[in-house]
């Protein structure tokens, strides 16, 4: 039996198919989920993919939070189920309040599309259980609104509670403004909730699993997720 990972399609989602494909490439079963269905089809984990849900007409992720499927996901997350938000999915998780902070326009005001280096900061999440903190992954980003912001108190709490999952860094792992593609506070590329089962990140691991088309920094994260959901309950 392989891990069943649901990927939600909202109107305007772009990366749902890549996410499903990445799950399958790494040995899991990808299960398509639909925004208007309040049904998670019994999956072991949920991915909110990148894109422009509902056109992002008001603000990234602002409308998706009201989708019928989101109530199910909130309950699933509250029960400890692994939920991964990628890019637009990260924005949605912040809008829903499952993660703190917000993603605002890149400091450069430009859309950024390139491969970045990420430093893994904690293994205490479903997607990093099999990764060593300090490990450096190559993964692409592509976003116009990826600057993570939060209050100083929230940022201090995230750091104190080991809830920063990824930071933008250089090839050697050095975190500095030089390697910060969007102005994110404290170089934050991804965070987790208190329990650790909900993770959001701006970079796209689903685009980084196939060596034929680019870097493979996403493989370790999908492998971790699949291992995590198949592990006996702890």
């Amino acid at each position: 039996v392989s891990a069943r990972i649901g990927v939600v399609t909202f109107p305007g989602s772009l990366d749902d198919r890549d996410a499903l494909r990445a799950v399958e490439l790494m040995g899991g079963e990808g299960v398509p989920l639909w925004h208007a269905d309040a049904d998670l089809r019994g999956v072991d984990g949920v991915i909110l993919p990148g894109g422009f849900s509902y056109g992002d007409y008001l603000r990234c992720g602002a409308i998706a939070r009201f989708a019928p499927v989101m109530e199910e996901i909130r309950a699933f997350a509250t029960g400890g189920g692994p939920v991964l938000g990628i890019c637009n999915g990260f924005q949605i998780l912040c809008e829903v309040g499952l993660l703190p902070g917000a993603l605002i326009r890149n400091r450069s005001l430009r859309f950024v599309c390139r491969v970045v280096h990420l430093r893994v900061e904690t293994a205490q999440t479903p997607i990093t259980v099999d990764v060593e903190p300090g490990e450096i992954l190559e993964i692409p980003i592509k976003h116009g609104e990826g600057q993570f912001v939060a209050s100083d108190d929230d940022l201090d709490r995230l750091e104190a509670e080991d809830r920063i999952v990824f930071r933008y860094c250089g090839p050697d792992g050095d975190v500095s403004e030089e390697h910060n593609p969007n102005g994110a506070l404290r170089g934050i590329a991804g965070i987790r909730n208190e329990a650790g089962n909900v993770v959001g990140l701006m970079p796209h691991p689903e685009h980084a699993v196939d060596p034929d088309v680019g870097p493979t920094g996403g493989q370790a994260l999908f492998a971790s997720l699949l291992t995590h959901v198949m592990a006996p309950a702890r």
Binding site: A62, I63, A102
Partner: protein, 59 residues
């Protein structure tokens, strides 16, 4: 002298207004207050206030 200016930007008549449609669709369930405080603004990083509520001239 310093001035404080509030600017009202509107679409010209006849243009598609997807943002407006989204707000219109959300009003029955959310109401004005929630549309202002939860839909049009992100309470994590933004404050909002309703300046005026008046009857629309046309639909």
């Amino acid at each position: 002298v310093r001035f404080s200016v509030e600017v009202l930007v509107t679409l010209k008549p006849g243009l598609a207004d997807p943002q407006g449609k989204a707000v219109e669709g959300a009003l029955p369930t959310l109401g004005w207050t929630n549309v202002a405080a939860r839909l049009l603004s992100n309470p994590v990083i933004e404050d909002s206030r309703i300046l005026e509520v008046r009857e629309a001239q046309h639909t």
